[in-house]
Symmetry: C2
Subunit: 321 residues, 2 copies
């Protein structure tokens, strides 16, 4: 990948999160100037290099308060928008989290990007926009989209806004529908939940649903590599890609791996039902032909990504994180 | 159609608009109690039966101020949500109109419906959610959806919200992707614009684009009949239908018909370009198999709908409307 056509500062919302902070480090290593905007609701300052790191600036701000972060867009070339509620279950009980904070935040940050003539905008969308698809692996062309949760609705609303800004205001858009992205520094998700449960009670592991929910897990490194490649290579007004692995892993298998990593003594208990919770999408496998056609290959399969992330989490906890 | 399973008051947002007010009259004629919520930004009080009409109440309120209209939801059985910006071009210049007023308004009104345990929610969406489709006629399953305007993005965001509320909160949803709906009392759209232009200057008619934009025009009566049939017959969590005619009409033909109705002397001038304006979707023809399968048939073709509406508009203007 050569970066010559992509100079100029990059604004990263949610840049203190697990995925955003990985991108920030990669961009800094590539010599880019990076401006992080994060309200630290899910992200952590410690995920990023320290204050004073060359090329990095950090603004603690909510996206709905543009006056606090508008300066980050001065002369910016790209927006990478990761900031969002990450707890689908919580959003189903409190609709404010996804629409008012999420979709409205997306709108406000796009308005800033437009006002500052940013050229490219990258969006971390989700495979949950497909609802319960009837086709597996699910291609980008699948429809109709029936979001099952406020979280999924906010992601689809975000995609719609990016598309409109691309066609109306020339803000070239890159939309990525993520499988489950896992890696270092996670503060939510099935692996995080399992670790927390075993910390609270090492004798048993409760699994929401019947354990047959089966999804694709992609490592953060592979995810970011795919995104950077697509931004480098593609120049349609809207560039949409599924990002996942070619395989998927049942929740039962994840539970068994986590229990084994904790000494193998915990009893696994399933709450039952095909859905883990209201809004859960139990079956997820994305068609990734589009991103494969650009030459990207995931380094780790879904099962390997889980093994590697369990190892990361054990190391993080030993280090006292 | 029998209404026995659909008793209880109906809240109609945008009920003073051209389409909403037609529905209101139909519901009143069927003996339903109707509560209109409209901020009169596009709608007109005169489109509705007068104050004191049995079964009708009217609240002037913006959807973002739920305290002003929450009472309309007391004991309500259904929400029909028509309120929206109707000027796609204006929305492309002022993004506030579609997202802040439209999508946020949709969210706020859905929250009221949820809080009041409304059973059914009906949404006036639009064929513009398809963006520039590559398949004609375009089926409901078409994807990916790439909205070309803030208006289209707000409509898709609205669909996403209705779907999430259906699956998360049990608010059964009916989503209708409209072709161009035309009929009495219109205050916007291509026919309205042409009449206004000829009133200002009877010697010439400026047509945006090259005149080859071609879309399907459906009469309000046919549109409302289809919606009521689908609500009566369908009970999936989300029920999605295209609504249009099987034919389409080029803008050039509409211009010729309007000029002929004005005496045939005006010169038609095209501004050129395949798109009428930024955000315009120049080619639109919807697959209507789903709604036809319920037994609905449009009484008027696209061309007939235009003829009939031109006659309505001439009569309205003669009556001094």
């Amino acid at each position: 990948m050569n970066g010559t056509s992509h100079e100029g500062p990059v604004v990263v919302t949610g840049g203190a999160g697990a995925i955003g902070s990985y991108l920030v480090r990669e961009l800094l290593a590539a010599g880019r100037e990076v401006r992080v905007v994060d309200n630290l609701s899910g992200g952590r300052r410690a995920h990023l290099p320290p204050d004073g790191t060359e090329g990095l600036s950090f603004i603690v701000a909510d996206l709905k308060e543009p006056a606090r972060y508008a300066s980050a867009f001065d002369g910016a070339a790209e927006l990478w928008h990761f900031a969002a509620n990450t707890d689908i279950r919580k959003g189903s009980k409190d609709p404010k989290l996804d629409f008012e904070d999420g979709a409205v935040g997306t709108y406000v940050v796009l308005e800033e990007a437009r006002r500052h003539d940013v050229g490219r905008a990258v969006y971390a969308s989700s495979s949950v926009v497909y609802g319960f698809p009837s086709v597996f692996p699910t291609p980008e062309e699948y429809g109709p989209l029936e979001p099952q949760s406020p979280y999924a609705a906010a992601k689809l609303a975000g995609e719609a806004l990016f598309s409109a800004y691309a066609y109306t205001h020339g803000l070239r858009s890159y939309l990525f529908r993520f499988a489950n992205i896992i890696g270092p520094n996670m503060t939510h998700g099935v692996l995080f939940d399992f670790f927390e449960k075993l910390r609270a009670d090492p004798s048993r592991l409760e699994v929401l649903g019947d354990g047959r929910q089966s999804k694709s897990y992609l490592r953060t490194e592979d995810c970011i590599a795919a995104m950077r490649l697509a931004v480098e290579r593609c120049d349609r007004p809207v560039n949409l890609f599924n990002l996942g692995t070619a395989d998927r892993t049942p929740v039962r298998e994840i539970a068994e791996k986590v229990v084994a990593a904790h000494g193998g003594t915990a009893r696994i208990e399933f709450t039952g039902g095909s859905q883990g919770w209201v809004g859960d999408v139990p079956q997820q496998l994305l068609a990734i032909d589009r991103i494969l056609a650009l030459g990207w290959r995931p380094r780790w399969s879904s099962g390997e990504a889980i093994d590697r992330t369990i190892a990361d989490m054990i190391a993080e906890r030993r280090a006292g994180a």
